[in-house]
């Protein structure tokens, strides 16, 4: 104990602006190591409880996505988000995100199919749009029974990415909430799900062509009988 002198409780805080991205990065790296290790466990141990493993994996992936959302939201708000538009084949973006979650499909026994027009190009920030596709895929992995189908279609001047699953579909109150959120009403309760939707919309809002803007959609129109998440790239 120091004698007599009044010590300041905290000498100096690291500046939040620097601390936040650094700690988010650190957490993302940790999670990536966790996921890699789970992969090794899955491949090497015969008697592993694959249901529990799949659960851990899903939650770790979700945490990773939430951190990405948090980080990009922060950068967006501070006008520090890197946005670099380029022409990308949509199929490349989709296949890469499907591949990024390959262990998730494996442990949960989900069959993923990517179909549609492989020659469709979109003018996008590839990394940001990929993060939205990833959210859609991880979401589908949660709600599907054992099938996910991603279709890439031409719509108007743009490209539509449809992610269908064969689960039970979304309950009405969730669809209602999503609709309200799109209509611009304030989210009454903020949870991870609304954060993810807000994030997707914010990212697609950046994507414009002439008078058109990007958008997302949520419905039970899945061709496989479950829920549907769609992304329109103008």
């Amino acid at each position: 104990m120091s004698k007599g002198t009044t010590e300041k409780p905290f000498v100096s805080y690291p500046i939040f602006k620097e601390a936040l991205p650094a700690s988010v990065n650190d957490m993302k790296n940790s999670l990536s190591l966790v996921l890699q290790t789970l992969d090794v466990i899955h491949d090497n141990a015969a008697d592993v409880d694959s249901h529990s493993l799949a659960m851990v994996q899903y939650e770790a992936t979700r945490m990773q996505n939430t951190l990405t959302e948090l980080q990009n939201f922060y950068l967006l708000e501070k006008d520090l988000l890197t946005i670099q538009m380029s022409e990308s084949y949509v199929v490349d973006l989709v296949e890469e995100q499907v591949a990024a979650n390959s262990t998730l499909w494996k442990t949960k026994n989900i069959n993923v199919e990517v179909t549609g027009d492989e020659d469709l190009c979109a003018y996008v920030d590839a990394s940001l749009v990929s993060s939205v596709i990833n959210i859609g895929l991880v979401n589908a992995s949660r709600y599907t029974r054992d099938q996910v189908q991603v279709r890439i279609e031409k719509e108007g001047h743009g490209v539509l990415v449809v992610i269908d699953d064969n689960g039970d579909g979304y309950p009405d109150f969730i669809l209602e909430k999503f609709k309200k959120l799109l209509a611009g009403s304030e989210a009454t309760e903020t949870n991870a799900q609304t954060l993810a939707w807000c994030y997707c919309n914010a990212i697609l809002d950046i994507h414009k062509n002439h008078e058109e803007k990007g958008r997302t959609g949520l419905s039970n129109a899945s061709l496989l009988g479950g829920g549907r998440f769609e992304i329109y790239l103008p």
Binding site: P21, V24, N25, K28, N29, S32, L33, L35, Q36, Q71, L75, L80, L81, T82, I83, Q84, M85, E87, Y89, V91, D92, E95, E96, V98, A99, A100, S102, T103, W105, K106, V112, E113, V114, T115, G116, D117, E118, D119, C121, Y123, S127, H157, N209, H210
Partner: protein
């Protein structure tokens, strides 16, 4: 239609990458090994790993790699951006080599810096084996499909490039977007302006592509239609505020139009988005100095020097510039301890440049001259004169050092040492010499026009602007007064003196001759005896002199 088959793909298939030579560079051993393992699993047979930028540069000089995966953070002094810049500059990469910059950084400063060094791909960390596989497959297919065209680009054979690109676009090939951008560069190089304009306009009908607007802007620049270029560039930035090259081009166009303050604003905005670019910081240092904004010039000069270190851009000019800006700051600074700190920073900067270029006689001389200017600004006359003597000695011993660039710096040093006549004689001779670089001639002429501190120059410039406004409102008395005040900061400036004379003449119009006013005009004109026939104000000088002489005899 595609059926995603990645889950079924067996690694036992013969890998297309079997013959590839790959290089993996990362600061950390576990990262290096993990990426190496991924590549080996994908079938890449030869993978070299290393940890420092220096090792990457040496390896690339010794061996032509097909694939380089290089992290932004490396051991040693160089980062991934600097390594790529140097590899491109020294032509150490095969034209169809694939260079991927990997990084866990998310800060825009770093990401933009990496993007501006133009890697073939940017891969954010962490990534999985599956992602690397997809990315590699895409890059490999692209590299194979475009390899002929990339060779043509590197050889500058644009004629052939145009026909290959056109053929690919006609076939609706997968790399048509790449080909269209390549066509823009090719048309520019070949001066095929009509085709360029047509291509851009056709693309813009489909959508607002940044590269198509940039194509139109570059066309206007090639045609020296600055206003049109400025219009296009402002439009690009309105649509895509992060198209960084548009800022640089816009600043260049504004400089061409003489709008230096606006150019500085544009560069400032560019630096907010992407500050880690040597050339941009250097441009900022130069233009803010010309605008008399010492603080911005100081900041930009410091960044320029820092970014140059350990990179291909390192240059003695950056050290000398920083020392000069610091000397100027010393002059205009009121705070004694701040003055001292800046003086010390200038000395240490000059110490560094001698150390970095220890065997370079020219650098040694430039350093000595810059030191004399620093001492002059500190009022240390004896040290100042000692430096000048030493510089003289160096030049006597080695007459080949007397290059125009050095003469200009010597002229400045002499002026600051109070040897105005000597300086003027030297610089006038420099300006009149035939085979001098026009840019350097302009610099010498600008200095002779206004051999005052940046602070005074900025002050005079501001006042000149205000006075011109009064003149425009026909408030001639006010204009005369303000021009006079401006002259107290910069007495030799031709434009300023002539503006003053012109305002006085206006004031005397219709009224009686005023002997005092005429005398003031004569004095103003006598301050301009240094301007030569080639000076851009010479004609105006002659005609006003003519009018004043008529008043003198009246």
């Amino acid at each position: 239609m595609v059926e995603s088959s990645f889950l079924a793909r067996k690694t036992s298939q013969k890998s297309p990458y079997a013959k590839m030579h790959a290089l993996v560079a990362d600061e950390f051993e576990n990262s290096r090994q993990s990426i190496r393992k991924m590549l080996v699993t994908l079938g890449v047979a030869h993978v070299d790993v290393m940890s420092t930028g220096k090792a990457v540069l040496e390896a690339c000089r010794a061996k032509k790699y097909d694939l380089i995966l290089c992290d932004f953070r490396l051991g040693g002094d160089k980062n991934g951006q600097q390594v790529l810049e140097e590899l491109r500059e020294s032509n150490s990469l095969k034209s169809d080599a694939i260079f991927v910059t990997i990084s866990a950084e998310t800060s825009r400063d770093v990401v933009m810096g990496i993007m501006e060094s133009q890697p073939d791909e940017y891969l954010g960390k962490p990534f999985t084996q599956g992602v690397l596989e997809k990315r590699l497959h895409r890059l490999y297919s692209q590299s194979k499909a475009l390899s002929k065209m990339k060779v043509l680009v590197s050889k500058g054979e644009y004629q052939t490039l145009v026909s290959l690109c056109k053929a690919h676009i006609d076939e609706e090939g997968r790399y048509s977007p790449w080909c269209k951008k390549a066509l823009i560069d090719a048309y520019l190089a070949l001066n095929r302006w009509q085709e360029l304009e047509q291509l851009c306009n056709e693309e813009l009908k489909i959508r607002d592509y940044d590269w198509a607007w940039l194509g139109l802007a570059k066309l206007s620049i090639a045609q020296k239609k600055w206003d049109e270029a400025i219009k296009h560039l402002e439009h690009v930035l309105q649509l895509f505020p992060q198209v960084i090259v548009a800022y640089d081009l816009l600043a260049d166009c504004l400089k061409e139009k003489g709008k230096l303050n606006e150019a500085q604003d544009v560069l400032e905005n560019a630096l907010k988005i992407s500050p880690r670019i040597h050339k941009r910081q250097r441009d900022m240092a130069v233009v803010s100095m010309e605008n008399g904004d010492i603080q911005s010039a100081l900041k930009a000069s410091q960044h320029t020097l820092k970014l140059g270190m350990n990179s291909i851009h390192e240059n003695p000019d950056d050290y000398i510039r920083l020392a000069d800006v610091l000397s100027e700051s010393v002059q205009s600074c009121e705070n004694a301890s701040e003055k001292k700190r800046m003086g010390n920073e200038a000395l240490s900067t000059l110490g560094q440049v001698s150390k970095r270029y220890a065997t370079d006689e020219k650098v040694k001389l430039r350093r000595t001259l810059a030191e004399s200017r620093l001492y002059a600004s500190q009022g240390s006359d004896s040290l100042r004169d000692k430096c000048l003597q030493s510089a003289n000695k160096q030049m006597l011993e080695n007459p080949s050092l007397e290059e125009p660039e050095i003469v200009l710096e010597l002229g400045k040093s002499l002026y600051m040492a109070g040897k105005e006549d000597e300086s003027q004689k030297l610089l006038s001779k420099l300006i009149d010499s035939r085979d001098i670089d026009p840019e350097l001639r302009q610099l010498a002429s600008d200095f002779l026009d206004e051999p005052v501190s940046t602070f005074d120059r900025a002050k005079a410039k501001d006042l000149n602007k205000t006075a011109l406004e009064s003149y425009a409102k026909r408030n001639y008395q006010e204009a005369v007064d303000i021009f006079k005040e401006a002259l107290s900061f910069s007495s030799r400036h031709p434009g300023l003196n002539l503006n003053f004379v012109q305002s006085v003449l206006r004031l005397m119009e219709g009224s009686e001759k005023n002997a005092r006013m005429v005398r003031e005009c004569t004095e103003a004109l006598s301050r301009l005896e240094h301007i030569s026939v080639s000076h851009k104000q010479y004609k105006r000088y002659e005609s006003l002199k003519n009018i004043v002489s008529q008043y003198e005899v009246k």
